[in-house]
Amino acid sequence: MYRISQVNRDLMARLRGSQAAYASFRANAIVPPLENAHGEIVATSPLAAMDMDGMTIQSELPITVTITLTTVLWPRTAH
């Protein structure tokens, strides 16, 4: 599961619960920059996404990331 702020969690619940709310959100979202009457944190560009409040890499680094660069020294002797 991804990390999501409480206000955006509430937003998702509202959009899922009401076709009208979702239709309104879609209509507003195509106007840059995204203006959101409810104050949700919604990024509509890559740099805005990078600037979003939230976790940092320090709290996020799982072993699954750091093993990306795993290197293997093959034993010199033939197996």
């Binding site: 320090q58 290197t71 197996h79």
Partner: protein, 443 residues
């Protein structure tokens, strides 16, 4: 020197990737003939008179840093502006990767500038930072001095974690550029067109507004957005590959890697491997990033399951089957680690394909560590490569992790590694047995 040419005894103690970036960063004495101070991270020249004020950050990639340092520090020194800069390219790499803190990304050269020197400094930097020297990662949450510049700024303390003002003090928020507003100081950089980054958003992702995130680092991030083309709220995964952020050993940035990953999705589809990957929804390019939009798969990351003790041998075998099927179709995954697999009750998906390539085509393999896989003859062309990588990742434990240590300790001697797992649980025992079998040894 290539890593393939090294004998074991010659391998550097301090990390393999550092070899490629070994050229020294010039010292202040080299460039300026000036006296300087230093600690393990920085060279310091001059000392700020005031306790707080404007800070300028010049960002650079591992490729451009050594070219940027001489003209930049000459300019700063000539204007009598105190500054510090990173001592090594390894530190530049680690800083840009976010390993020194997310807020520190791109802060390679830091200057402490009085308001009356700002005009001269900006004028000088705009002349110096041209061509390739304009390349550098963004500094998160800070505005650039002028549009598109690899120079960022904020108001903050020079000596502590607090900003002082007549009626008290406040925490110096390093993630926030608007401290100056609080203490009643006008932003002198607005006249250069800077400060727009945080508000002027191009809305290239308006069709897929981002609402949450999986991870974020110096090369970009993986986020969750809403697909507004759908008539019901539908989540999608958006992978952002930034330009000029964390750069691979061969100079490619995440923009290029993510762009290439999009084509790998097409290659999977052409080989009827669609069932093993999320559906590609769209791609979006803008000046800052390449965005790959894919289906959101509501499944558990297998590394997370493994860390929680919830991964079963059956799940591991499902993923291994994916590896073998993909390999049999002529695709080398390269980054076939456990964390790049998702699993639900019935099936398994492979994600993060930026390093994958078609057998017969030489892969991207820009990451320095990967090249050492060629030591003693085992290369990417070896059909066992992905299986070995996957099984090693199944045996990996949190205690093996050395986040923040650069490339140090990322090498694994296979036999010693397997032996160190003799006290493992059922999954580790199974993985170790499979790994031995792949190596041609008696399980």
């Amino acid at each position: 020197m290539t890593f393939a040419s090294l004998d074991d005894d010659d391998l550097p103690v301090e990390g393999d990737g550092r070899r490629a970036w070994a050229p020294a960063v010039p010292t202040p004495a080299d460039v300026l003939g000036a006296t300087f101070a230093a600690d393990a991270t920085w060279y310091f020249v001059g000392a700020a008179i005031h306790r707080q004020g404007w800070k300028i950050y010049i960002s650079a990639t591992v490729e451009t840093y050594r070219q940027i340092v001489p003209p930049a520090i000459k300019l700063l020194y000539g204007l009598s502006i105190p500054f510090k800069y990173l001592r090594t390219l390894d530190l530049v790499y680690r800083m840009n990767a976010g390993l020194l803190g997310y807020s520190q990304i791109g802060k390679c050269i830091v200057a402490y500038v009085d308001a009356d020197r700002i005009d001269e400094l900006v004028d000088g930097l705009s002349s110096v930072l041209v061509g390739d020297l304009k390349r550098g990662p963004f500094v998160p949450r800070l505005p650039s001095v002028w549009p598109g510049a690899n120079v960022y700024y904020r108001y903050g303390s020079y000596v502590s974690r607090y900003i002082e003002f007549p009626s008290g003090e406040m925490a110096d928020d390093r993630d926030h550029p608007f401290n100056s507003h609080v203490v009643g100081i006008a932003d002198p950089f607005r006249r250069f067109g800077g400060g727009e980054n945080l508000t002027a958003r191009d809305a290239s992702l308006a069709r897929f507004p981002i609402i949450g995130e999986f991870c974020r680092s110096g090369k970009g991030g993986v986020f969750v957005g809403l697909d507004l083309n759908q008539t019901v709220p539908t989540e999608v995964v958006i992978k952002l590959g930034l330009r000029n952020g964390q750069v691979a050993g061969d100079g490619r940035d995440a923009y290029e890697l993510t762009s290439r990953e999009a084509s790998v999705y097409d290659a999977f589809r052409a080989r009827d491997l669609d069932d093993f990957i999320p559906e590609k929804v769209d791609t979006i390019e803008d000046e800052a990033a390449f965005c790959l939009v894919t289906q959101y798969v509501d499944a558990e990351n297998m590394a997370t399951s493994r860390a929680a003790g919830e991964m079963t041998i059956d799940m591991m075998m499902d993923a291994l089957k994916v590896v073998r099927t993909v390999n049999a179709s002529g695709v080398v995954i390269v980054d076939a680690k456990l964390g790049n697999f998702l699993h639900d009750a019935s099936r398994c998906w492979l994600v993060d394909l930026e390093s994958a390539f078609l057998r017969g085509e030489r892969g991207p393999m820009g990451l320095p560590g990967a090249s050492t896989f060629e030591v003693d003859g085992l290369s990417l062309d070896d059909p066992r490569f992905d299986e070995i990588h996957f099984l090693i990742s199944c045996l990996y434990r949190p205690s093996d992790d050395h986040a923040g240590s650069g490339f140090k300790s990322r090498r694994i001697r296979v036999r010693e590694f397997i032996a160190s797992r003799s006290d493992g649980d059922a999954v580790e025992t199974a993985a170790a047995g499979l790994l031995k079998a792949v190596l041609g040894e008696k399980p």
